[in-house]
């Protein structure tokens, strides 16, 4: 390959990444579900004719992207690429073939150039309701969790599959939002296909097979180079989590062998009898994400950057569930996997690995109205709202980092954002009375853990509602690293006092409020090594107390003598 070819390939690469980012922006702007439009719970990617991911959008969430990367091959196995026709669109939400629960729907569209399918555009979005029990961990079998769409046509040669849409409309709680989101997902891929074809015309190439191989190859080489710099060996680590009815243990052994990293989850807990289990795709997604974050954060994600990292987990276990095990709230465990990987890598590259963070987002699925709360709660309520279902995404603190404090209230590893309180209250009969940093929740350290937050939610006029709780780290705090102290554990309770369970649907009675205290990140390094001024600032800003400064950091801060 000549030098100009290489420069040209690099330009095409950049162009593909920007085309796919445009595609993601389209779905955000056209979507109906709050999870997509306000929170960015989506992903988008472009694939070659063989179903390998060549580029992904910057916007998006890792659990989707890396799962989607695998799932496109399943579409091709059922519908070979040369049998596809212009205007065809394909869809699935099968957890085992795609992204691990029914809410994440993947739509795939072939792009045509000169009469031939030249690649595939795919995107995955979280649809707020797909029927069944709704988003939450309470189901005992996946069949209770929603409608399964096997891989099939969403549109045939431009005509929407009305049989499918008709079936779905009668099975979900909010058919208009669901249908609007399906349209947005089709529009998103159409846009990506237009950009892809325009790019082929401009660069005068027939497809992306050759340039795709270059991209995948370069990325693979970069990851391989990064792995080669690490010492070979087996690095075990384990993490304890709350689980639903009993504690969960995630046991990992990370093996570095020349150009390859393998993570084996042998020894982890068996599957839960509730919906917090992961399909293999999802386990792979968050595990490779964890590895890539540490060893190659600037290497664009595609088939090549994922390939040198392999994952195995015992079949039927919590990280490799089989049908009909329930999987709806799998993010609760899945989003902890990067912390597990970081724990394995900490002894290998201590200067690149942060302390543990809150991990999984706290996403209360709230339901109100006559069918949304328990009968005894309805009986004691003076007033009820209309029926509604809403999900709010919220974050705790990330772990202290090797050179910086952890980030307060920041999604990690998820790429999702929180919706504005004013947007939620405009659409739903709720009042979010408090959404504020949770003081004293960041683990002390040379670099302090990020703070969690306190959230207080009530029904409008005190109307009762129920919450599908799917929260973790209420028993197991995010641990500090290298002498750093633990972050604060999470708490779930009613304002009137009683504690609630961290998993499962529970009611918030008339006049009461739900209080969530989200975990803070663990500290990194010995707190006694923390910069004095940083401790003083934390006291002045009320993130810690003067007593904490003395007991955790050994620094005497006299607030009366210090001005802001």
């Amino acid at each position: 390959m000549g030098q100009f070819d290489e420069i040209r390939y690099q330009l095409i690469w950049n162009r593909l990444i920007s085309a796919i980012e445009e595609q993601a922006q389209v779905v955000i702007h056209a979507a109906f579900s709050q999870s997509v439009r306000e929170c960015g719970d989506l992903s988008a990617g472009v694939f070659n004719r063989r179903g390998q991911m060549v580029a992904q959008a910057v916007t998006g969430t890792p659990g989707h992207v890396n799962s989607m990367a695998i799932c496109v091959e399943h579409f091709l196995a059922k519908f070979p690429i040369d049998g596809m026709k212009p205007g065809d669109v394909f869809v699935t939400n099968d957890p085992w073939l795609s992204v691990g629960h029914y809410h994440d729907v993947t739509v795939v569209t072939p792009a045509f150039h000169k009469g031939r399918a030249v690649g595939l555009l795919a995107n995955t979005c979280h649809i707020v309701d797909m029927g069944g029990l709704g988003f939450g961990p309470d189901a005992r079998q996946c069949f209770e969790e929603g409608v399964n769409i096997p891989i099939m046509h969403l549109a045939r040669e431009g005509v929407v599959n009305e049989d499918l849409m008709g079936l779905l409309r009668t099975n979900v709680r909010n058919p208009i939002d669901m249908e609007g989101d399906f349209y947005a997902m089709m529009a998103c891929n159409d846009d990506g296909a237009r950009r892809l074809v325009g790019m082929l015309e401009e660069f005068e190439i027939d497809d992306i097979e050759e340039v795709g191989d270059y991209i995948i190859d370069q990325s693979r080489k970069s990851i391989v180079n990064a792995i080669r710099k690490l010492p070979n060996g087996d690095y075990p680590h384990s993490v304890e989590l709350d689980g639903f009815d009993e504690p969960i243990r995630i046991q990992a052994k990370l093996t570095i062998a020349d150009e390859h990293i393998h993570i084996d989850y042998e020894g982890s807990s068996p599957a839960s009898t509730y919906g917090i289990n992961l399909v293999h795709n999802f386990t792979l997604a968050y595990t490779t994400f964890g590895v890539n974050c540490i060893i190659g954060p600037n290497i664009p994600c595609n088939a090549g950057s994922i390939e040198p990292i392999t994952v195995s987990a015992p079949e039927g276990g919590i990280l490799n569930a089989v049908r009909p095990m329930p999987v709806s709230a799998r993010h609760v465990i899945g989003q902890m996997l990067p912390d597990v990987v970081f724990g394995c890598l900490a002894p290998v590259i201590p200067d690149r690995v942060p302390a543990e963070g809150a991990g999984a987002m706290w996403n209360p699925m709230l339901r109100g109205g006559p069918t949304g709360v328990a009968p005894e709660v309805i009986a004691s309520a003076d007033e009820l709202s209309e029926d509604y279902d809403v999900i709010m995404f919220n974050t705790g603190g990330t772990g202290g980092r090797p050179t910086m404090d952890g980030l307060s209230t920041t999604a990690f590893p998820s790429g999702v954002r929180t919706p504005p309180v004013e947007a939620v209250e405009t659409c739903f009969p709720l009042v979010i009375w408090r959404k504020e940093l949770r003081e004293r929740s960041g683990g002390a350290g040379k670099f302090r853990g990020g703070l969690g937050q306190t959230i207080e939610i009530g029904g409008e006029a005190g109307t009762p509602f129920s919450v599908a709780a799917m929260f973790d780290r209420t028993w197991n705090a995010p641990r500090g690293r290298f002498g750093g102290m633990d972050g604060a554990k999470g708490e779930v309770r009613l304002k009137s006092g009683p504690e609630l369970e961290s998993k499962g649907r529970q009611s918030v009675p008339y006049g009461d409020r739900l209080i969530l205290e989200l975990p803070g990140g663990g500290g990194y390094g010995d707190p006694r090594d923390r910069d004095r001024q940083a401790v003083v600032d934390d006291v002045l800003d009320g993130l810690i107390t003067a007593e904490d400064a003395e007991s955790d950091y050994g620094i005497d801060v006299d607030v009366s003598k210090t001005t802001g």
């Binding site: 050179t403 990690f412 004013e422 209250e425 001005t563 802001g564």
Partner: protein, 697 residues
């Protein structure tokens, strides 16, 4: 201002490095650039004014209006040099401006940084009060709670206060109560309330905008006062108007109240400049391309009007990435700004790919070729090596460039790692930056539902004419215009801007239950408010241009699109009319619509009132003594044939209208050079602009 019409007009743009002054009148235009005096920017302004007045032999009483744009507000935010600001907010929302969206600007890097809020937690205070989404008080605010607030504000050494309550965009009563309470007791403090600064929903953006306004207010007020008094002392009697980020003009009084609306007023001048050129050349679809020392700005201009937006992010702290800055919800000219200017530094990423920016070498040490000891290659170095810039004639010959230093910087950073000769590496750099700009332009266009390839590119700012042809090739654009005075385009643009004011209000209406009465009432109030501001700015009592827009979406969606609302009072079936307009516009943006499936709603309304813009009446120049062009010859790199080939070099001032130049060629002037690509030909049009056309291959 009818009595001002025969006077000279001045445009004045304070940037981070230079202050540009443009004076127009009696059919001519004078320009100068002086160094910005950051300690007291009014000094630099006075110096620039003195220079142009002396050159033209004009006295201060001959000067009518002075139109002023500045990055001072932007820089105060970026450099954190604003006032000691305190925030008063709703109980439970003390940390909204710090928590933000809770997202990350980049997924894989654990070492990302997020912007520090403008008001630190120790100066963020809460009071018990709460409105619901309909503006009804769930917790009424009492004066008792304000009594304890005041000593806390005193103890925090407050100079400026931001007041921002949840749902105050629906009902400002609590915010007004706090403002009046504080104002009567602490008359020296600046006070900004969210229901005035940015009355729109989404609390993070509104609170953040209000804090930014409070943060820059005392400094801007002091500066404006000082400048006004210096002008008065020096004998200037005409009005002083300020350029807004929305592209309109406003009075000193309004600028003092809402200084956050001045953020990005310089680039807005550039967009106006492009818009006026588009109009006077009858160009319906234009893309303006303004490339300076640090960034490039790209803006779409349809029908002579730049696109507008209501959201902007200032002071991005992580690689210029979206969501890494402070969001401002204000009327702005919609543009995309990326770290691609003459001083942007080229480097290799860990995959061995060439990357450019966003780091810039600035003016010190500057590009390697400035010979001030810099060793990192910049775009200017690459252009020098490719022959696009003449080392002996840079900036009118004021700065001799060191080609050897440029070559070794490029060789060391790019050439050796990629194993290619310096010229190829330099080409890789300019190609990468052009590709970055093309990508940014494309993403920007899709976000607006527009095409780029059917547009005319209007290029200005020091760097744009060098890269315009290549950018056009990448975007499939076939026509480019390089206007006169391209180097000080923003300041020229100020002189074209209309006096204008935009009022935006959140006010929900679903189309199926559209209530014409309340909507008509609200729009009338908004129009009266906007007209009031325009008259303050010297606008006439009648003949004003009124533009009404609705921000609409399908019920259940979260993002809206802008729909132009027809003139006149709404009647019974206004809901249907608006719904049809929305469905039509939606299909334009997203390909399909959901007509008949779901109702639509208006989220917010905007009314913009403006005077007519001023046409450019400056003559093209006198070529009677010119003896015709005598081009020299220089080798420069041609991106189409991938080699160094001969380029004819012309001096722009020697080219009379209708002169035709075939590419490859270079047309030089003091402030910039136009590179005419081998697939382009150039023609000087009657108003002195260079028009470049791509020849069919």
């Amino acid at each position: 201002m009818p009595d001002q019409d025969d006077k000279y007009r001045v445009g004045l743009d304070i940037g981070g490095t230079f202050t540009d002054v443009v004076l127009e009148g009696a059919g001519s235009r004078l320009t100068t650039k002086v160094l910005t005096t950051l300690d007291d920017p009014s000094l630099g302004c006075m110096k620039g004014l003195d220079e142009v007045l002396a050159e033209g032999g004009i006295s201060p009483d001959d000067i009518g209006v002075i139109i002023h744009g500045t990055t001072l507000a932007t820089n105060a935010i970026i450099e954190r040099k604003g006032a000691t600001t305190s925030l008063v907010t709703t109980d439970g929302f003390r940390d909204t401006i710090e928590m933000g969206t809770e997202g990350r600007p980049e997924q894989y890097d654990i070492n990302i940084v997020k912007p520090e809020p403008l008001v630190p937690r120790r100066r963020r205070f809460t009071v018990p009060e709460r409105l619901n989404a309909r503006g009804e008080a769930l917790v009424p605010l009492t004066e008792d709670s304000l009594e304890t607030l005041l000593p806390a504000l005193d103890a925090a050494n407050t100079e400026s206060v931001a007041v921002a309550f949840v749902h105050a965009y629906v009902n400002p009563v609590h915010e007004i109560m706090v403002r009046d309470y504080i104002r009567s007791r602490r008359p020296d403090w600046s006070i900004s309330i969210s229901s005035e600064v940015s009355p729109e929903f989404r609390e993070f953006e509104r609170f953040s905008t209000t804090c930014a306004n409070a943060y820059v207010q005392p400094g801007m007020a002091r500066y404006l006062e000082k400048f006004e008094s210096r002008l008065k002392e020096a004998g200037y009697g005409g009005p002083l108007l300020l350029m807004l980020s929305s592209g309109g003009l406003t009075t000193v009084e309004t600028a003092r109240k809402f200084p956050v609306r001045l953020v990005e007023s310089g680039p807005a001048g550039g967009a106006i400049f492009a818009g006026e050129i588009a109009k006077s050349n009858n160009m319906d679809k234009v893309m303006s391309f303004d490339m300076g020392g640090t960034t490039a700005k790209i803006c779409l201009v349809d029908g002579g009007r730049a696109q507008s937006s209501r959201r902007f992010e200032v002071a991005r702290v992580y690689r210029f990435r979206k969501d890494s800055g402070i969001p401002l919800r204000i009327p702005v000219i919609e543009m995309v700004e990326i770290g691609a200017g003459g001083g942007s530094i080229a480097w290799m990423d860990e995959l061995g790919r060439i990357s450019v920016g966003p780091q810039s070498a600035g003016s010190s040490p500057g590009p390697a070729c400035y010979g001030q000891g810099a060793t990192e290659p910049t775009i200017t170095d690459a252009n020098l090596l490719l022959g696009a810039i003449d080392p002996d004639n840079f900036a009118g010959g004021k700065l001799k460039l060191d080609g050897q230093a440029a070559a070794s910087a490029i060789e060391k950073t790019i050439g050796i790692p990629m194993n290619v000769p310096p010229a190829d590496a330099a080409f890789g750099i300019t190609e990468t930056v052009c590709e970055n700009m093309a990508s940014a332009a494309r993403v920007h266009a899709i976000e607006s539902g527009k095409n780029v390839d059917d547009r005319t590119l209007i290029a200005f700012g020091g760097g744009a004419p060098l890269h315009a042809c290549r950018l056009a090739e990448k975007l499939g654009i076939s026509k480019i215009l390089i206007p006169r005075n391209a180097g000080v385009g923003s300041a020229v643009g100020f002189l074209r801007a209309p006096v204008s004011y935009e009022v935006v209000r959140t006010f929900y209406q679903q189309m199926e239950s559209f209530e014409a009465g309340p909507v008509n009432h609200a729009l009338k109030e908004m129009q009266d408010e906007a007209e009031g501001y325009v008259r303050l700015g010297g606008g006439p009592a009648s003949g004003l241009d009124v533009r009404r827009q609705a921000y609409m979406r399908y019920c259940g969606q979260g993002h809206d699109i802008v729909v132009d609302v027809p003139d006149g009072v709404f009647g019974k079936d206004a809901g249907n009319t608006l719904k049809d307009l929305f469905d039509e516009r939606y299909a334009e943006v997203f390909g399909r619509n959901m007509k008949g499936i779901v109702d639509a709603e208006v989220v917010a309304w905007s009314v913009t009132v403006s005077t007519a813009p001023r046409p450019d009446d400056v003559a093209a120049g006198d070529f009677s003594s010119a003896s015709g062009p005598k081009p020299e010859c220089r080798k420069a790199f041609d991106p189409v044939t991938l080699g160094l080939i001969d380029h004819a070099v012309y001096v722009r001032d020697e080219l009379p209208p209708d002169t035709e130049v075939t590419g490859p060629a270079i047309i030089v002037e003091d402030e910039t050079s136009t590179l005419v690509g081998s697939s382009f030909s150039a023609r000087i049009v009657s108003n002195g602009a260079i028009e470049l056309s791509r020849q069919a291959r």
